[in-house]
């Protein structure tokens, strides 16, 4: 495994204003994520895993502490610079897929490439290739409403990896899926992690995902309680 860091977090504190006071979502979190890691942030609801994922993705800002992602110190960057970082180097996968309902599968996957101003011909090839990776070549012209949950999530994965990002952030990607689809999705991501050298960070409390992870960071009550490295993940249905 390469040792290059894709994300470094130091003494991160994240608080949200609630009523007259503050709710602490993350407290003194210090972590380093390395290239090609396949990591899960695991913990109960409200433990801060989605907040941590959002901060790494530049969608949210830390209250205190430093966050460095792909060589950029996020606490010193503008909205525009963070948007550029996401556009060029990151992919997002959401629990509820977040596909644009008026677009076809092809158009949904094509969107990050349009934002990155990739030429049409090249775009076409890249989208088809991404859809091939996730096994959706036959659904190219379907709209999200015509797809199953698993197919929607595979489309979302294709959209997240179509521009070959260095880091993919996935928030509960299997929460809405049955066991079979969950395993299928995870197998795809493991394959992409290996073939594209893309780092994956998951926020999950799904046991099925954990079997695939090579690193599990346990969060509880806003803090890291355990950072576990697994040499040979079992993967697959048990």
């Amino acid at each position: 495994m390469e040792n290059t860091a894709v994300a470094t977090i130091n003494h991160l504190l994240k608080q949200f204003p609630v009523g007259g006071g503050f709710f602490t979502a993350l407290n003194d979190v210090t972590l380093t994520f390395r290239k090609r890691e396949f990591t899960g942030l695991v913990g109960p609801s409200g433990s801060g895993k989605t907040t941590l994922l959002n901060i790494i993705g530049g969608l949210d800002s830390p209250t205190e502490g430093t966050v460095n992602v792909l060589g950029k110190a996020l606490d010193n960057t503008s909205h525009g610079e963070r948007a550029l970082l996401r556009r060029k180097h990151m992919g997002f996968i959401f629990q509820s897929y977040n596909l644009l309902p008026v677009y076809t599968v092809f158009e949904n996957v094509e969107l990050p490439l349009i934002l990155n101003k990739v030429e049409e011909k090249e775009r076409d090839e890249m989208v088809k290739e991404a859809l091939e990776w996730v096994g959706l070549s036959d659904k190219i012209n379907s709209r999200p409403a015509m797809l199953s949950g698993g197919e929607c999530q595979r489309t979302a994965i294709a959209r997240a990896i179509v521009h070959r990002p260095e880091l993919v952030l996935a928030d509960e990607p299997t929460a809405n899926l049955d066991a079979e689809n969950s395993h299928h999705i995870m197998e795809i991501m493991v394959k992409l992690n290996k073939e594209l050298s893309t780092s994956f960070i998951f926020a999950t409390h799904d046991e099925k995902i954990m079997a695939y992870l090579r690193r599990i960071i346990h969060l509880d009550d806003s803090q890291i309680t355990e950072d576990e490295h697994i040499e040979n993940p079992t993967g697959g249905p048990t």
Binding site: N54, G57, L59, D60, H79, G80, A83, L84, L85, R86, R87, K88, M90, G91, F92, F94, N98, L100, V102, Y103, E107, L111, P112, I114, L115, N116, K117, R159
Partner: protein
């Protein structure tokens, strides 16, 4: 790039886009139609005044002031030579104006009595009805409004009393020979029209007149002998003043319609944009900047306006054309209210109106698209992703 995405969003949204476009197109139609109707009404009033009263212009006796009946007593003389030659060539006709009182059914009513040649063809008035009557009574032409006020009908006799050039009061019997149906209330209300020669003889003003109306597109007379030339621009200036005075009203009406349209569009845009909070969050997550999100939604609004303009042409164009050609019949006669109003109102669509309305509605659509999208783009992407409502 934004254009491509905006177009894709619009085409992909189908029903939402159709509804937005129809709301905007209907607003376009309403503004165009109402304003064109208003314009048509005013233009018609001007045209009617020119056709029935002003023609190409007039030469006035120096004492004549149509707004001051007290001047009529002295506002008469023989026509200057050059003006008389216009009359002789049938390019003009003289009118002799005086005050008079009429007594329909015994009631006294002050009127303006005008002597006009029955054979004139310069203005659109049925003066030929005054021709061919014997001298036993005074043939009188009145308008429908006057007939209604005096309860006179064709064949009815009534007393006319006037003051002649010798300052002697005289009276005789007048008989209504025709009731004219004119849109110009200025020929109708408070007026009686009699043959010019009869008027001259009654008033002891042989060969005299108060003003001379000449045909359209005639060159000006050089020697007017002290009479005052009143060209068409001067004579329509009171009509133009009415139009000008009505402009604030028209602008207010235009603004109200535009505001209604804007509210409709704003409502549709706000609903569509705020419902797309999660979509905006997703776009931000995959790397779209806030400015671009605002640009995208504003552009969608702009495209909406363009498509709405096309939809107006396709769906409402035939309706606008139909009314532009055939007009709209008015259910009541406005002449008695002192308004020059056509029996059928024909809207006038000027290029200026179409262009300004298109530009204005497009601008309003852009603004009402920009405001809510700017608001939602200010949200934290995490809130937008959760589809959290904007306060």
């Amino acid at each position: 790039m934004l254009f491509k995405i905006a177009l894709k969003n619009l085409l992909g949204a189908r029903l939402r886009t159709i509804l937005n476009i129809l709301v905007t197109a209907f607003s376009f139609f309403l503004i165009l139609f109402v304003y064109a109707m208003y314009d048509g009404m005013l233009q018609h009033a001007k045209q009617v005044t020119m056709d029935t009263e002003i023609a190409g212009g007039a030469y006035w006796h120096p004492e004549y002031d149509p707004l001051d009946p007290m001047t009529f007593e002295d506002a008469h003389s023989v026509l200057p030579e050059d003006i008389q030659s216009l009359v002789d060539q049938d390019n003009a006709f003289p009118v002799l104006v005086s005050q008079a009182s009429i007594y329909p059914e015994g009631r006294m009513m002050p009127t303006i009595m005008k002597g006009i040649p029955p054979d004139q063809k310069i203005v659109n008035m049925p003066t030929d009805a005054l021709a061919g009557h014997d001298d036993s009574s005074i043939p009188v032409l009145i308008g429908k409004g006057m007939a209604s006020d005096t309860k006179l009908e064709v064949g009815d006799a009534f007393t006319i009393r006037w003051l002649d050039a010798d300052r002697t009061y005289d009276a005789d019997e007048g008989v209504v020979v025709h009731v004219m149906d004119t849109e110009n209330f200025k020929l109708d209300m408070g007026h009686i029209w009699i043959p010019l020669n009869k008027a001259r003889s009654m008033l002891a003003m042989k060969g005299e007149a108060t003003y001379v109306t000449y045909a359209k597109e005639l060159p000006p007379v050089q020697n007017v002998g002290g009479w005052i030339p009143r060209d068409i621009n001067y004579l329509v200036q009171d009509m133009e003043a009415i139009i000008e005075a009505d402009k604030p009203g028209a602008i207010i009406m235009y603004m109200i319609l535009l505001a209604l349209a804007a509210m409709g569009i704003f409502n549709a845009q706000v609903l569509s944009i705020f419902r797309r909070g999660r979509e905006i969050g997703t776009l931000m997550a995959i790397g779209m900047t806030r400015q671009r999100v605002v640009g995208l939604f504003t552009l969608e609004g702009g495209l909406n306006a363009v498509l709405a303009a096309a939809a107006t042409l396709v769906f409402f164009g035939p309706i606008l054309w139909y009314f532009g050609v055939h007009g709209i019949p008015l259910p009541i006669d406005y002449t008695e209210m002192g308004m020059i109003m056509a029996k059928r109102l024909i809207p006038i669509y000027t290029i200026g109106l179409v262009v300004s309305t298109t530009a204005l509605v497009s601008l309003v659509v852009l603004i009402v698209s920009y405001i809510p999208s700017r608001r939602i783009a200010r949200m934290q992407p995490t809130d937008a992703l959760r589809g959290k409502a904007v306060a």
